[in-house]
Symmetry: C2
């Protein structure tokens, strides 16, 4: 397990989390620049084994909320995570002992590292998705009902702030947070989902920062060795490369605080076609019109040669890519979880057929 995050770890984490983000989570390159500037100032950040947490430790979750497309145009002020964390501490009248990861995908893998560093508390090597999802109720921390997304605190770059002390459900918590995020320019810092150490241990998808880092290192090694990088990615994640081709169409719009749309990829021979639909994250993939992969399994797009993640906001006509299907962590595949993160939750009248196997959340020994 990664015991700390140094400057050298940022590049592999950006790659690994970019791939695990399934298109979303915010631009990992920009997130990496931000984290690097903080580490240069304050030094490395301590990562905590989730099972080293005291059962009664108080943990919060930190991340950005909004549309990834916006995050590459509207840069953060830099202290959003700290300000949201302090605001929530003030609201509940207690200090947090550690900060956990909302989603290991994209720049949101790094926000809890930034939050912990600035607040002087460790970051727990555990997230609630093992990937990224567009909405805040889509979190394994919440699935057993013992933890709720509210109370939560949000801030923007300009020092607007909001606290939601309670919501009638986590879905309502999402609706309110989303509209506040829209007011804040479709990008805001969010600290939420207060839980104990015991609750985190029971519900988290563990060691995903370590996994992201390991994945990134393997990608960099495969790049150096000039071996098949997409294949290396699939190997690390127990997934499979399901398509090679060139992006032939992108339909992307920012709507109601999300990046929504679809991408079409034509095989190099032109004989086959893969279509993916997304809401911040890639949700469903069709090959020649047939469903090939659906949420919560991961649909990852990487560049064909370098195996670098291609996130939603970077989809561009003509890019040569490989598409990798990766089995979701087990926490996302229970009946309760599938109601929140399965195809039906996104309006697809399609049954979830899980890909076999999977390593996300199980990789404690990396």
């Amino acid at each position: 397990m990664l015991s700390q995050i140094t400057l050298e770890d940022i590049r592999p984490i950006a790659i690994g989390a970019g791939i695990l983000g399934t298109g979303g989570g915010g631009n990992p390159y920009l997130g990496g620049l931000h984290l690097a500037s903080i580490i240069r100032e304050l030094g490395p950040q301590s990562m905590l084994d989730p099972f080293a947490l005291q059962d009664d430790a108080l943990v919060c979750v930190a991340g950005n909320i909004g549309a990834p497309t916006v995050s590459i145009e509207k840069l953060p002020e830099g202290t959003e995570m700290l300000r949201a964390l302090r605001l929530l501490e003030e609201h509940i009248g207690r200090a947090f002992d550690a900060v956990a990861i909302a989603e290991i995908g994209g720049a949101n893998s790094m926000q809890p590292v930034i939050a912990g560093l600035l607040a002087g508390i460790p970051t727990v090597d555990s997230d609630s998705m093992g990937r990224a999802f567009p909405e805040i109720q889509m979190s394994s921390f919440l699935f057993d009902g013992g933890v709720t997304v509210a109370p939560y605190a949000m801030v923007d770059a300009a020092d607007n702030a909001a606290v939601v002390p309670q919501a009638v459900s986590d879905l309502w918590g999402e609706k309110i947070a989303r509209n506040i995020a829209v007011s804040m320019g479709a990008r805001a810092g969010l600290v939420s989902t207060i839980m104990t150490g015991a609750q985190l241990k029971a519900t988290g998808v563990h060691y995903t920062m370590t996994l992201a880092h390991h994945l990134g290192c393997q990608v960099l090694a495969a790049q150096r060795e000039k071996s098949d990088v997409p294949e290396a990615v699939a190997n690390v994640l127990d997934g499979q490369v399901i398509f090679h081709g060139k992006i032939s169409d992108v339909d992307r719009r920012v709507s109601k605080g999300f990046a929504r749309g679809g991408v079409r990829i034509d095989s190099f021979s032109g004989a086959d076609r893969l279509a993916i639909e997304f809401q911040n994250e890639f949700l469903i993939a069709f090959i020649n019109g047939e469903v090939a992969v659906t949420t919560p399994d991961l649909i990852c797009i990487v560049t064909e040669e370098e195996g670098e993640p291609v996130t939603t906001e970077l989809l561009r006509y003509g890019t040569r890519v490989a598409v990798i299907a990766v089995p979701a962590p087990p926490q996302l595949k229970t009946g309760v979880a599938l109601e929140v993160v399965g195809p039906g939750a996104f309006g697809y009248d399609v049954e979830f057929r899980p890909l076999p196997g999977g390593v996300i959340g199980l990789a404690s020994s990396l």
Copy 2:
């Protein structure tokens, strides 16, 4: 001055505030039913002369935020004002001594009475508009910069809640509150604009509850005497009846938390036409294509025979109406105020030409 509000006062206040609301502020009939149910349970509510407030008394402002069109379909749970008030007290760690009126228009004239009754504190006979406006930064309490709309608290019928501890400006406070209100179904209870007694005395539009009550009583008297009711309304408010006619077209939609649109009224002879545009409230009136009245002066529509207020959500093809132009209170006509509530603030490239005279906010002796 009205020293308390009893069951008998509700009908005249509903009429008077309905007229002063210039189309907005929420349906006064439904607001009246709600207030009546609370007075029946808890007795009359004490009204406080603004100048009887201690200088260091702590005052908040209470009202509904949303689209009036929605307020006739989505009824309140009933304790929104109290819950929002308590939430804000909890946030600042102090209790309020009295509650003031955000806007004297429509049902929002009654919300601070309900808030005060439920919280056990008096309601101050002072509002911040002398009418209704669609946005929360359009408040005389805020114009001199000593008071801000945030921190504020919002709740909905289902027990969702939000606190905004700070906003970079009152306009940003409005943007965030509006989107939260949209999440809450375009109708939410809002308690905001914390100030001292001294600040309220310096910035409020005073005795407007008394004025609304007096206006309603005069309307009822004119109805009984079968005299010209619209003319009676104009007399009480130092305004003038500028048009008689029949509603010939209504364009109304709920958009981004507001009721927006326009209404066309044709004179009974068919020779003249009056057009009004609205955003919750009537903002600008054109007679035969020429600007006749603009915000902040009041454009009031009443039924031709009974002189009852016709609010935005009740505009209907075929209704016979009179349109009355009323001079705005002086607090809305300063240079600073006109930047926030003048025609330009609503996107109209038209100069404000104030109607002469006016009594709103000056009527302490009623």
